[in-house]
C-alpha cells in the first residue's frame, strides 16, 4: 500500500521541523465543501495521536446561502496541543480557505505570519466577486503578511480521482480530503484513523471510498513532495489521564447525562421540547435513543413542552425540557407552576445571543438573571451552569440529583459555545457513576402531600398508588396538607419555605474551589462557558508572577456556602461575562463586594488573551 511509503521522521527533502506546544487550525469553505467533516477527522486523529483537543464549528446563519457567498461560509476550528487545553484557541495559526468567501470571512482571525493554504482553483472571477473582492487577493500582495500557499486543489483532486471511476460533481466533493491530507502532512498526523473511517463509512460504495482514500493520500504526498513547504510542525502527545476517550459536544454530553441519570434511577426519561437553535440537537440525540426508555415529545410550543414536562414529573418520570432564551421566556409562567407544585424536573436553557431573536446561532450568557428572577412572585428555582462541553454530562446528572433530592425544578444553563464546541471526554466507569435513588411513598393512611422532611422536601407520591390520591396546583397550598389555602400567614410561611428549601441545597454541594492561591490581589470569577478562557488566562498570568487566582461557579442559585469568604480574601474581584454584568450584579447584591465586570457581547466567546490583558490591566501591569 502506498501508505507504507510514509517516511516518518526521515524527510526526503530538507524540511525544517518545528515543535509546537499547541496550535490552532481552521478549515473554512463553502457549506458544501465538507469543512465540518475535515475538521472532525483531524480532531479525532489528533486525539488518538494523544493530543489534547478543543474544537468549535462555525455554521453559517443561513440554511444554504448561495454557493460562494460570505453568508455560506462554514468553518471548523481545532486547537490541539501537548498540554491541557481549555478553549478552541484564540487566534488561528493555520487557515485553510477553500474559496474567496472563506478567505474573506476568516482572514482577520489568522495570526500575522500564519500559515494560509488556499485552494487557488476557486479564485475565479465569479467567486471573487461573490465574495465581494474587487481584486484577486492572491495577486495583489494583500496577503504578504502571511505564509501563503496556493494549492490547485481542484485540479489535484481530479487528478487523484482519475482512475477511481468517480466522475462529475462527486469528484469535486473529495476536495476536502485533499486539504485534510495536506494538513496531516503539515502537522505530522497519522493517516490511519481517517483511512479506517473512510472504509467504514463508504464500505458499501467502494468507488467513493477509493476516491477519498486516494485524494487524502494525494494531499499528504503533495506536502511531502512539493517544494512549496519548507517547514513542518510537530505537536507532541499530551499527558492526559489514562482511560477510554471519545469526543463530545456539549449538547451530546448533556443528552448522555440525562439518559444516564434516568437509567441510574431506573426511570423513563421524558424530554418535552420545541425545536430551537442551539438546543435542538439535544432533542435529536434523545430521539435516537428510545431504547433507553427515552420518551421525546416535540410539543406545539415551549409552553406545552414545559407543562407536559410538569405533567410527566407529576406522573413520576425523570422529566426534562430543553430550549434556548426566547423559549425560556415563554416557559416562565409555567415554571412557576413547577415551583408551586414542588415537582422535580430539569429545565435546560442553551443560551444564545439575545435579546429577542437576536443572533440565534451565536453564543451569549445573558439569561442568568432571567433564570433566577424571570417569573412572577417569589419564585425560586435551583440554577446550575455547565463549564465545558464534557461538564454538561456531569451537570446534567447533578441537576437531577438536586431535583429529586429537593423536589424542585432545576434550571441548567449551557450556551451555544458549549453546545457545539467539543472536547475529549473520558468515558466514565460504570461504578464511578452516582446512583440516583428515588423514593416514592407507598400506600399509607392519612397521606399528606406537603409534609416535609428535615430538608423541607415534600414526598413524590405517584399517581397509580392507592391511598395517596391528592391534588396539587398553582394556587397557594396549605403546608403539610396541601389543600388550597388563602390564609395570610400560610402564604408567607410557604414563600419562605420555598426559598429556604432552595437555600438548603447549599448544604448538599461541594464548596467552591480556587484555582491558584487562596488569597491575593485579584480573583477572577466566572460561570458557564467562560471557564476555559478564564482558567487558561489566569494560569498564564500566574506564570508571569501576577497575584491572581480564579474560581468558577457551577451553582448560581444557591451559591456555594464559601463564595462570600472566597471573594473577601482578594483585594479585587473581576467578573468576565458574555453579557453586561449579570453575575457581577448578583455577587454585589449578595455579598456587597465591589465585583466589577468585564463584558463581551459579540456572540463569541472570550479569547484567553482578552482576559489575560484585562487581568494585567486590573493589576496595573
Amino acid at each position: 500500500m502506498v501508505v507504507s511509503t510514509r517516511l516518518n521522521g526521515a524527510q526526503p527533502r530538507c524540511v525544517e521541523v518545528i515543535s509546537l506546544g499547541e496550535t490552532t487550525v481552521r478549515f473554512a469553505g463553502d457549506s458544501g465543501d465538507g469543512m465540518q467533516l475535515a475538521g472532525t477527522q483531524m480532531t479525532t486523529t489528533s486525539a488518538i495521536f494523544g493530543n489534547d483537543v478543543s474544537t468549535l464549528p462555525d455554521f453559517p446563519a443561513e440554511i444554504r446561502a448561495p454557493a460562494g457567498t460570505l453568508a455560506g461560509v462554514s468553518g471548523f476550528q481545532l486547537h490541539f496541543g501537548s498540554h491541557r487545553l481549555r478553549t478552541p484557541g484564540d487566534r488561528v495559526n493555520a487557515l485553510v480557505a477553500m474559496n474567496p468567501a472563506a478567505l474573506s470571512a476568516n482572514l482577520s482571525d489568522l495570526e500575522p505570519g500564519g500559515v494560509l493554504i488556499v485552494n487557488e482553483d476557486a479564485f475565479t472571477k465569479m467567486d471573487l466577486s461573490r465574495a465581494g473582492y474587487s481584486a484577486d487577493p492572491l495577486e495583489n500582495r494583500s496577503l504578504d503578511g502571511y505564509q501563503l500557499f496556493r494549492v490547485p486543489m481542484g485540479k489535484l483532486t481530479a487528478e487523484a480521482c482519475k482512475d477511481t471511476g468517480l466522475t462529475g460533481r462527486a469528484v469535486g466533493r473529495c476536495k476536502n480530503f485533499f486539504a485534510l491530507g495536506l494538513v496531516y502532512w503539515l502537522y505530522d498526523r497519522p493517516l490511519a484513523p481517517t483511512l479506517r473511517w473512510i472504509e467504514q463509512k463508504f464500505g458499501s460504495k467502494p468507488v467513493v471510498a477509493d476516491a477519498n482514500i486516494k485524494t487524502l493520500k494525494a494531499g499528504y504526498h503533495f506536502g511531502e513532495t512539493t517544494e512549496l513547504f519548507t517547514v513542518r510542525y510537530e505537536v507532541a502527545p499530551a499527558k492526559v489521564p489514562p482511560g477510554k476517550y471519545r469526543r463530545v459536544s456539549g449538547n451530546e454530553a448533556l443528552a448522555i447525562g440525562l439518559i444516564t441519570a434516568a437509567q441510574r434511577a431506573g426511570k423513563p426519561l421524558f424530554y418535552g421540547s420545541y425545536p430551537i437553535t442551539p438546543a435542538s440537537d439535544i432533542l435529536h440525540f434523545l430521539a435516537k435513543h428510545k431504547n433507553f426508555d427515552v420518551r421525546t415529545f416535540q410539543a406545539e410550543d415551549e409552553i406545552a413542552a414545559m407543562t407536559a414536562t410538569i405533567g410527566a414529573a407529576f406522573a413520576g418520570a425523570f422529566a426534562v425540557t430543553g430550549t434556548s432564551g426566547p423559549g425560556m421566556a415563554l416557559k416562565s409562567e409555567a415554571i412557576g407552576l413547577a415551583v408551586m407544585t414542588e415537582l422535580p424536573m430539569v429545565i435546560v436553557n442553551v443560551q444564545r445571543a439575545g435579546p429577542s431573536t437576536g443572533l440565534p446561532t451565536k453564543t451569549e450568557q445573558a439569561d442568568l438573571l432571567q433564570a433566577i428572577w424571570g417569573r412572577n412572585g417569589e419564585n425560586p428555582v435551583c440554577v446550575l451552569a455547565a463549564a465545558t462541553p464534557a461538564d454538561c454530562f456531569d451537570m446534567a446528572i447533578e441537576a437531577f440529583r438536586i431535583a429529586i433530592g429537593f423536589m424542585t425544578p432545576v434550571v441548567l444553563l449551557a450556551d451555544g459555545y458549549l453546545a457545539n464546541g467539543a472536547e475529549p471526554w473520558r468515558i466514565p466507569d460504570m461504578d464511578s457513576l452516582p446512583r440516583l435513588d428515588v423514593k416514592h411513598p407507598g400506600p399509607v393512611e392519612g397521606f399528606k402531600p406537603y409534609q416535609r422532611n428535615d430538608k423541607l422536601v415534600r414526598p413524590w407520591a405517584l399517581p397509580g398508588t392507592p391511598g395517596l390520591e391528592h391534588r396539587v396546583g398553582g394556587l397557594e397550598s396549605r403546608d403539610i396538607t396541601g389543600e388550597v389555602c388563602y390564609e395570610p400567614e400560610n402564604h408567607e410561611h410557604m414563600c419562605r419555605i420555598r426559598r429556604r428549601k432552595i437555600d438548603n441545597i447549599a448544604e448538599a454541594i461541594p464548596p467552591l474551589e480556587i484555582n491558584g492561591d487562596d488569597s491575593g490581589e485579584l480573583l477572577v470569577i466566572g460561570w458557564g462557558s467562560t471557564y476555559g478562557a478564564i482558567t487558561s488566562a489566569v494560569e498564564r498570568c500566574r506564570k508571569k508572577g501576577m497575584s491572581v487566582s480564579s474560581a468558577h461557579l457551577r451553582y448560581l442559585d444557591p451559591m456555594q456556602k464559601n463564595v462570600g469568604d472566597v471573594l473577601r480574601r482578594f483585594c479585587r474581584v473581576l467578573v468576565p461575562e458574555l453579557n453586561l454584568g449579570q453575575l457581577a450584579y448578583r455577587l454585589r447584591a449578595e455579598y456587597l463586594v465591589d465585583a466589577t465586570g468585564f463584558h463581551k457581547i459579540q456572540g463569541k466567546p472570550f479569547t484567553i488573551s482578552e482576559i489575560e490583558a484585562e487581568i494585567a490591566k486590573r493589576l496595573n501591569k
Binding site: 471519545r246 410539543a299 414545559m306 410538569i310 410527566a312 406522573a315 399517581p463 392507592p466
Partner: protein, 341 residues
C-alpha cells in the same frame, strides 16, 4: 339485587369519588350537576381512584379536580391538555380526564386543544361552555355570541365566536360529543361514551353560569322550547326532533334543512346519523347546526378509531429496545473512541 339496592350501591360508589373539599361554585351553578354526573359515571365504569387523574387549567370549571377524590392537577390557565399529555406519556396506563372552560380551552388554550386532538392520546376532555369568563367575573369568551354585552364589551362583542365542536372537527377529532348540564341522564350517557372511547374524547357541555350569563342556554333547556331547539343524535337513526317528533333534518346537497314529516316525507328521506363515518364532514355539518336556525344536535357526533398517541410512543420505545437493548456502556462508546494509556 333490586333496582333500589342497585341505586343505593351506585350512589355509594359515586360518593366514593368525592374528595374531602366542599365545592365552592356559586349556588345554582351548572358545574354542580356536571360534577355529580362525572362521579356517577366513574362509579359506573368502575374507575379506580388511584389510577385516575383529573387535570384542569384555571377558571370556575377548572376547580373541578379539587372535588374528585382521585389524583388531581389544577394547572395554569389554558395548559391542562399539555399537562395531561405529559402525564399520559409518562404513565400510559392512567385514566386521565381534563376539565376546561370556554376561555381556558378555547381562548388561551386553543392551540393545545388542536394539537392534543390531532395526537389523539386516550384522554377525556370536558369543555364546560358557559359562553363567558366566570372566574374573572364576566368578560365575553370566544364562544359568546356576536353583540354580547359584557363587562369588557359594553357596546356588544365584535368577535365572531368559535364553535368548539367545529374547531375539534377541524382538527379531525376521533370522538366529539355534546350535552347539557341539566339533562343529567343524557350527560351521564355522553360522559360514559367519552370514557369508553379509546383516544381523545372531546365533549362540549353547555353549562349555565347563573351569575354572569344566566339563561344562555335557556332555549335548549326550557321545557317549552327544548324539544324544538335540540335534536338528539342516535347512531344509525334519522334526525328527528320536535315535541311530537314530527320534524326532521334532510340534506339538500350539502345544506341541512328542516322538514316536517308526513305529506310525502318519511323518516327515510331524512339524514341518518352515522357516528362511525370515517369522513368527518357529516360531523362538521352537524356542528354547524345552530340555534336559532336549527335545533342543536346533542349526543355523539363522531366516534371513530385511530391509534392513540401514547401507544405509538411506547411502540417505538419497545421496538427500539427490542432491536438493541439500551446499555449505558454502548451509549458512552458511540462514535469513535480511543484509549490513552
Amino acid at each position: 339485587m333490586s333496582a333500589d339496592a342497585a341505586k343505593v350501591k351506585l350512589e355509594l360508589t359515586a360518593k366514593h369519588f368525592a374528595s374531602d373539599q366542599d365545592p365552592r361554585w356559586c349556588p345554582g351553578c351548572g358545574d354542580y350537576s356536571i360534577l355529580a354526573q362525572v362521579k356517577k359515571v366513574l362509579a359506573k365504569i368502575e374507575a379506580k381512584r388511584e389510577n385516575t387523574v383529573f387535570v384542569s387549567g384555571i377558571g370556575c370549571s377548572s376547580r373541578f379536580p379539587y372535588y374528585v377524590g382521585t389524583y388531581g392537577f389544577h394547572g395554569i390557565h389554558g395548559r391542562a391538555l399539555a399537562i395531561a399529555v405529559g402525564i399520559k406519556v409518562a404513565q400510559p396506563e392512567l385514566s386521565v380526564w381534563v376539565v376546561t372552560g370556554d376561555g381556558d380551552g378555547l381562548s388561551i388554550g386553543g392551540n393545545h386543544l388542536l394539537h392534543t386532538i390531532r395526537r389523539n392520546p386516550d384522554i377525556n376532555i370536558l369543555l364546560f361552555n358557559n359562553r363567558i369568563y366566570g372566574l374573572t367575573k364576566g368578560q365575553y369568551s370566544p364562544t359568546s355570541p356576536l353583540g354580547k354585552k359584557t363587562k369588557s364589551t359594553p357596546m356588544g362583542s365584535v368577535d365572531f365566536p368559535l364553535h368548539p365542536l367545529s374547531v375539534a372537527i377541524g382538527a379531525e377529532a376521533t370522538f366529539v360529543a355534546r350535552s347539557i348540564d341539566v339533562n343529567v341522564k343524557h350527560l351521564a350517557y355522553v360522559l360514559e361514551r367519552a370514557a369508553r372511547h379509546k383516544g381523545a374524547s372531546f365533549v362540549e357541555i353547555y353549562q349555565n353560569c347563573n351569575i354572569f350569563n344566566d339563561l344562555a342556554f335557556e332555549y335548549a333547556t326550557a321545557k317549552t322550547t327544548k324539544d324544538e331547539t335540540t335534536i338528539y343524535l342516535e347512531h344509525g337513526r334519522p334526525l328527528v326532533f320536535g315535541k311530537d317528533r314530527n320534524k326532521g333534518i334532510r340534506l339538500d346537497g350539502m345544506d341541512p334543512e328542516i322538514v316536517e314529516l308526513g305529506d310525502g316525507i318519511t323518516e327515510d328521506d331524512l339524514l341518518f346519523h352515522n357516528e362511525k363515518q370515517e369522513e368527518p364532514s357529516l360531523a362538521y355539518l352537524l356542528s354547524r347546526m345552530r340555534h336559532p336556525d336549527f335545533p342543536e344536535p346533542m349526543g355523539v357526533f363522531r366516534c371513530v378509531e385511530r391509534p392513540v398517541y401514547e401507544d405509538l410512543v411506547m411502540d417505538q420505545i419497545n421496538e427500539a429496545s427490542r432491536q438493541q437493548p439500551g446499555r449505558l456502556e454502548d451509549l458512552f462508546d458511540e462514535g469513535e473512541t480511543w484509549i490513552v494509556e
